[in-house]
């Protein structure tokens, strides 16, 4: 990156199982908050990028058209991005690319899902002709991967329970988070119903309504308000197919390559020491050690020890998901952008009650599909 890029506005809606507003109104909450944070009018925006899950998920076809007014997109180019659950991360990076390429001065990134308006299970479980009817659902895809991680790393089973507790306690400091369980304990997670053995109910993400928006710009237009920008130090996306021979879904090659490229741009060679806080796409608790290893914050097989030693809890030296993460709120279309936005809030010092003291460099991470899509950015409190 030759141009210095920055996040100058962040907004998000309250997440809930069901928001009693229209999709347009819920999207507008995040857009208005991001524009107010950036102190901009819609006339200052040159392009809009929409992040959204498939139309089937909440039943609105071509939401990029339906939401044109909610996004303030009058006379502006609107692009919709879709890469599974990682889509918000990809959308943020695409917006940054538009600025970097000189095609736009400021880009508004918008993301949402309103899963209460559709039937997520149905949308995810459409039987394919010629396929066996396994009826395993989303967790049924990730649970075998988790079992393999546990076998390989010989991690004790309480690691998954501890991550579930850490993230839910973090969520109590985030007023936007959907799940609020201030009294959660390891025993409660351990005793919660088994869904897809080895995944228990309290180790799983919820289905949520929620939205998020950010404004990305270049150095020339950053730093014009009292609130400091988050500087983008590195960003990358990588993709792999779902079934190439020899594929390792416990440690996907695309995820490794994605992180390595973002760190290279950011000048990071010892991520665990040089990153202060990470917001990772963790839909099931065991994905904390899995992603820590995949993106180089831990050696292969060593991620669970960071959890066990309390280092990834709030107050540890490598706090993960201080917002409460995906386990505490999962409006899928916005989930990736929320990770990227929370990383930006941390280095801006604007994360409120879940602010990590002294956060100067943060990772935002998103994953989509069957761990096929990977996006990651490194943001900092100072210029790259």
């Amino acid at each position: 990156m030759s141009t210095q890029l920055a996040v100058i506005g962040v907004g998000q809606s309250k997440q809930a199982k069901r928001r009693e507003v229209t999709i347009g109104a819920m999207v507008r909450e995040a857009v208005a908050a991001a524009m107010a944070d950036a102190e901009l009018e819609f006339s200052d925006i040159d392009a809009v990028v929409l992040s959204k899950t498939p139309d089937l998920f909440d039943g609105v076809m071509n939401p990029e058209l339906y939401l044109a007014d909610a996004m303030g997109a009058v006379g502006l180019p609107v692009t919709r991005v879709f890469t599974g659950g990682s889509v918000g991360g990809h959308a943020a990076i695409y917006a940054a690319h538009l600025v970097e390429a000189g095609l736009a001065r400021r880009v508004l990134v918008v993301a949402y899902s309103k899963e209460s308006e559709g039937n997520f299970t149905w949308a995810l479980s459409r039987g394919l002709p010629f396929s066996a009817q396994l009826g395993a659902g989303a967790g049924g895809h990730f649970a075998p991967v988790i079992r393999e991680y546990i076998r390989r790393s010989a991690a004790p089973e309480h690691i998954g329970w501890q991550v579930a507790v850490n993230h839910r306690l973090n969520a109590t400091r985030n007023p936007y988070a959907h799940v609020q369980r201030p009294d959660i304990t390891v025993e409660e997670v351990r005793d919660s119903p088994m869904l897809w053995d080895p995944i228990r109910f309290l180790e799983s993400c919820p289905s949520s309504d929620g939205s998020c928006a950010v404004v990305v710009t270049s150095e020339e237009y950053a730093g014009r308000t009292e609130r400091p920008p988050a500087w983008i130090h590195g960003m990358a996306w990588r993709t792999e197919t779902g079934h190439f021979a020899g594929r390792d879904e416990v440690n996907p090659r695309a995820g490794q390559a994605c992180a390595a490229e973002a760190y290279r741009q950011a000048g990071i060679d010892a991520p665990l020491e040089q990153v202060d806080v990470a917001e990772l796409y963790i839909p099931y608790s065991w994905y904390e050690p899995i992603w820590l290893e995949n993106i180089g914050l831990a050696e292969p097989g060593a991620g669970w020890a960071l959890v066990d030693q309390g280092r990834t809890a709030y107050g540890g030296d490598m706090p993960v998901n201080p917002s409460g993460g995906v386990l505490s709120g999962n409006p899928t279309g916005a989930t990736g952008l929320l990770r990227f936005a929370e990383a930006a809030l941390q280095v801006r010092g604007l994360a409120g009650e879940h602010q990590v003291d002294g956060a100067r460099r943060a990772v935002g991470h998103a994953m989509g599909g069957a761990s096929q899509f990977h996006a990651l950015w490194v943001v900092g409190s100072t210029r790259r």
Partner: protein, 167 residues
């Protein structure tokens, strides 16, 4: 005009159901069709990549690593090991099998990919990573160009039931 006061208003309506359905025309594709036709004959057809020597089951038309067209199909004997698995332990809408049941990633002997299928004829808590399994095919009259031609896989060490297994 004046009107008599009507009955009390009902609860506010906050949502209405608007169901929709979709019909797809699904094209299996040249590569996948080879595999599917094999299933109708109780055959598991694999293909090797000439570029990286990896064996695909089920085989697409091209290697996803090299983007090279795969070689001619050849038959595997169906046996393999359980690479990993989960136990689906709860009922959910649209489920076709009664929980608990095992869904496994099966690594067939001679293949470098994994195939997802059910594990049967064994108690879920006895299933282990590394266990050798073999396909249990449906009856002659149910064989078709679909993965449903295999009812499930079962441990090779367990000889129960009357289903025919490919010798």
């Amino acid at each position: 005009m004046s009107a008599e006061p009507g009955p009390p208003l009902p609860q506010p309506i906050t949502s209405v159901k608007s169901p929709f359905r979709m019909d797809y025309t699904y094209v299996a594709g040249a590569g996948r069709s080879v595999f599917l036709r094999g299933l109708a004959e109780r055959k598991l057809l694999a293909r090797r990549c000439p570029g990286c020597s990896q064996v695909y089951l089920p085989p697409p038309e091209f290697c996803s690593r090299c983007l090279t067209e795969l070689e001619a199909p050849f038959e595997l004997d169906g046996r393999g090991t359980i690479a990993t698995f989960c136990v689906v332990s709860f009922p959910f809408p649209g489920q076709t099998i009664e929980a608990p049941y095992v869904v496994a990633h099966i690594h067939h002997h001679g293949a470098d990919t994994r195939l997802m299928h059910l594990i049967g004829d064994v108690a879920p808590d006895e299933v282990r990573i590394g266990m050798e399994v073999e396909p249990v095919w449906v009856g002659e009259d149910q064989l078709t160009t679909s993965m449903t031609s295999i009812r499930h896989y079962r441990p090779t060490g367990v000889a129960i039931g009357s289903e025919s297994t490919r010798a």
